[in-house]
Amino acid sequence: MKGIKAYGVSLPYYRLKRETILKAMGWFNPGPAALLGGEKAVANHDEDSLTLAVAAGRNCLSGTDRSGIEVLSLASTTLPYRERSNAGIALAALNLAPECRTAEFTGELKAGLAALTAALGEEVDGSILVCAADCRLGKAGSNNESLFGDGAAAFLVGRDHVAAAFEGSYSLSYDFADHRRIEGERFIRSWEERWIREEAYTKFIPRVIQGLLDRTGLSLKEVAKVILPPLGARDHLALAKSLGLDPGRIQDPLLGSVGFSGTAHPLFMLAAALEEAKAGDRLLVCGFGGGAQALLFRVTEAVNDLKDRTKVQAALAYKEEMNSYAKYLSFKNMLPKEAGIRGEEIAPTSLSLTWREQDAVLRLVGGRCQACGSPQFPRERICINPRCGAVDRMEPYAFSDRTGHLFNYTADHLAYSEDPPNLYGIVDFEDGGRYWFDLTDCRLESLRVGQPVRMTFRRKYRDEARSLCGYFWKATPFRS
């Protein structure tokens, strides 16, 4: 029996209130922000679809053995590289074995569900990790700007002990050009919303639902929760009504708290539904874009064995308001601002060095001295312990999942940062090992010597002149 063995989600720390968008851009287009209300999740300046996908994957795998993972699938329409293995970067950051096969799903908004469907059809003995993330951009003042939020979700798919058993899928695929973005363009363009709703949303989704029910021999009454992707502020409600579903049977589309997170959104909603579900519930998830797709799952008793069923709740609660629209534009690279000569100084990246140091840079894997037992980062040939100094006795030692404590810190106003002052300090890892790291998702006022921190995979820099971005790990405070 194939199905979902574990789930994980990730949201960036920042939320932009639609009221803030309205204040800034309401003079231009008051409609969407006012209609939607609430807030949307906004990636930090050091986050993108790739780092959010990694965060969701790590959230999914927390407390799980990674050795049985045979495939990593990455779904997004906004991955940083058009050519270079985004999934290869994610695989390393997730500390998965290089023997793990990767696949990237992109282009269509139902790519998230396509990746999940493909995983459910994989003929492998082990499990498949599916990560979907998006950080889609709407132009300033656009409906899309208000609608879109940044987020990611991940599922571990496998054969045995599944928390949600896969019962079937149904798909419709068309060139329905409701949204589009061509090579070289950053912003999504859309056709008229009424056309999308009348001609596709209210037609494709009922068709895939009915098709799936026919295929599985079930009726909609037997489905506990239907996960309808949002279109505008209220279209999912009208659609639910037309399907005869009362509002309690459709999953909250999270528009007021997250925004529409593209390929990740149906997966995020499915994770939320799974978090709330009980054994025996049937969950029907729909995706929309380039046609539509529906998948059916039956929640099993194994759902009660999931170690943590507060992940969605925790992600929704982990937040701070971004109260400046200008900062939002800046983080989204939509505001040409004066970085100064220091800010413009970008040293070249050596890709041969990146490859040589991949364990340190992408995996945060250092060494542990087999002579004295000292964990150390990065891994070098001679042990750092002044009373050891053993040569070539290192075994790999991963730091990414280890808790650290802030040894010292500062807030640096001189260093160029997209969000000054730049915070950094030395981190002491529990069980040994010490290194200095940038700090993220926090402010100076919240920092204390000794406070617990965890590691998070982030974009370290962006070098537009050379078409590169560098990734590394930062520390971030634990928050209850």
């Binding site: 807030a411 640096d412 300090g425």
Partner: protein, 400 residues
Amino acid sequence: MAEGIKNKVAIIGMGCTRFGEHFDQSAESLMVEAFMEALADAGLEKKDIDAAWLSSCFDEVNVGKAAIPLAAALKLPFIPVTRVENFCASGTEALRAASFAVASGACDVALAVGVEKLKDIGYGGLPDFSQLRGAYNRQIFPNMTAPGMFATLATRYFDRYGLSSEEGKRTLAKISAKSHYNGARTSKAHLRREVDVETIMKAPIIAWPLGLFDCCGVTEGAAAAIIVRADKAKDYRPDPLYVKALQIAVSPEEEYRFQEWDGTHVETTVRCAAKAYQEAGVKNPREELSMFEVHDCFSITELVTYEDLLISPRGRAKEDVDAGFFDLDGALPCQTDGGLKSFGHPIGASGIRMVYEVYKQLQGKCGERQLKNPRLGLTHNLGGFPANCVIAVTIWGNEP
């Protein structure tokens, strides 16, 4: 321990340019000025120089690589010239190399010149660090600057000794105020203005908790010294400066990679000072030294250096600061010329500039800020960051 350099060589001539933002002068011009002063001070001619060492750090924006810029600027006639670079200890490295060469008998008269041109980069602060350690730190070092790295010493120090931000910052402000007072009385200093503690406390933050006046300036300048054998020194002048110790210590970086260092001191300074005191035969530095010039790139560096040089007891430098122990009229004056705080820090030149002050003080030539009968002076450089650095400690006396 080896016999060491004590009393084997002496300085018989020194030169130092005014330190400042020399937008109108090239590195070549600054080197010539420092050299000509040193030559005249020693009463020598260029042909008397047997070998020379050039120190500079940021070669990308400064004189460039190799020693040719010094040979070319001074038109040195095909003699051996070597460039040395060891971060902020570069100047002391040039002095050290010249001293060792003379002590070995390889040459009789050696020249050390340090220079740094930093203001041709177009922005404040030191040049960007992203390639400081080759390509590696681009990938994994934090996005840091010098003030930030030293600021982390302050947050940890304040935490360890229970100082509130206000108390900690006030202690640091007193250190900077003292140096500005001295610098106002030094003609070659860059910043020659007294600054009071309240102004320092209120200054904009550069890297928490360090404010503008907790940081030394980015400055340009050059300094030079001429070294001869100690037993010949009096042939040149009646008041040479005799070497007592020339020590360098370099961190293996265990401080930030192994959980032992406490983060409230600079371990490399402790190690270097111990060797320097041993070489010089100094048993009790607090009592025996007449003056000292430390690497006050930041006020917090000076605070912990008081402790690392075994002058103040661990954790209690604040008491000495509060008591005015290091003031010009205190028991052991520190930064009598205003230090890096007033001079700024042309990296390749600073180590030699510090010795220039000891030289002039021990010769009794410091006018308004002249100390009474100083006999033994110490200089200290810190190149790098508290957790991984090059430290230089030198000790000099006016008697062989």
